[in-house]
Symmetry: D2
Subunit: 133 residues, 4 copies
């Protein structure tokens, strides 16, 4: 089974806007926090990429907003691998609050070398972790 | 011709991450700043919605990252109407720096009443402004 | 003894700047997160103020930066009451990482009514909690 | 006369909180934006420090909040040198909106070398600019 990680978060006061709901850009902040936990769980940390002279950079982010989050809400985000190609991978992030769907975010990352930022193949040992082999 | 607005911005230091490029969530902050200018130019301000007991809320945001932005970069964002339906509208935001494409963001908004947040028709006077009639 | 609360946090990637350390404004975000936990522990939640028609607003914030925080660092913040007057209270926030001092922040809040935002006496039941009577 | 710079800003929607006013941490973001303009005007850019193998890091930040800022407010920040010592400098930032005082922030920076982050003397050519000689 492809790799996945679930992480819990709580809405901070400063993340809410004038109408009392989480401002849209913060969903990408939450997603990044959960991606950090995903890499920690499956690779021992994102620095595993850096150790190989690599980085992953965002190519695409697609967000579907279903229901608003409010101040102090506790919610869960489940990150799972939805696609892996030679040089890119796509993670899906499902946001839920007490079982209710809040948002879905799909992010495509490209693997690049840390110096030139040119696309590079995803190393076999990372690919096999992502694909759950 | 459908309504459009172009606005210039400069990257703030705190918007950049450890590798020296703008962190992804800030693209949605920039988009929101430009949407504010779009409403100012075409409606006299977003408060025109509130005056009619309405709000627009995000349903979808799709981002394509083309090239990174760095600290202190000046760039332009052109917002234009790409679709209007009975109760929703889609704005496209094109980010460029010195003519070079940086990112494209498409955001779909739903028109709702300010109290119950149920979907409402976009008022005729606003629709005609958006469609450039 | 005056009321106090200790809360643990972890540095998010987007909170770090180009030189790899937490950008200064985020210390006030952390402080606010810990203040929320302080009110939860001692009053059952900040909404206790709102229930009385009151709010607390910042009058002053004084920060001493001792050592930088880096991405993924875990750290603790201890919030404690350092002064209570008729209409204001001061909380001190001590930031430590593995026992090492990171920063000290002192924030003075004024109690105001939620409508007019004019200064109001701190209710006796809240004062006695703050002073640890 | 000591160096000073005035810069205008407008409140972004995402900088406001649930009660409709600018969240406190954003004052330090504004201050940083104005510091960037201060260095641009007086040194040709903050990179002048980096070119000398130096950086300035925050030691202290003291904020007095006088009146709230609201969404879309235009305001001015005047940055001026209030003290220069061998290895540190203090800038004062006065926030006003239509002549009305909004906030005062005093920030002390220490000059450090970019590698080891140990305190270093402020170079004579920079000191004389700061002091307005």
């Amino acid at each position: 089974m492809p790799a996945e990680t679930t992480h819990s978060l709580r809405v901070r006061y400063n993340e809410c806007d004038r109408v009392g709901i989480v401002f849209n850009s913060n969903y990408l902040v939450y997603t990044d926090v959960v991606a950090t936990e995903f890499w920690r769980e499956h690779l021992g940390g994102y620095s595993e990429f850096n150790g190989l002279g690599l980085d992953v950079v965002l190519a695409e982010a697609n967000i579907r907003f279903r229901r608003p989050l409010e101040f102090d809400d506790e919610f869960e985000v489940r990150a799972s691998v939805s696609a892996v190609t030679a040089r890119s991978l796509t993670l899906e992030f499902d946001f839920t609050r007490a079982g209710e769907q809040i948002a879905e975010i799909e992010i495509s990352y490209v693997c690049v070398d840390s110096e030139q930022h040119t696309a590079q193949p995803i190393p076999e040992q990372i690919r096999s972790v992502l694909e759950g082999d």
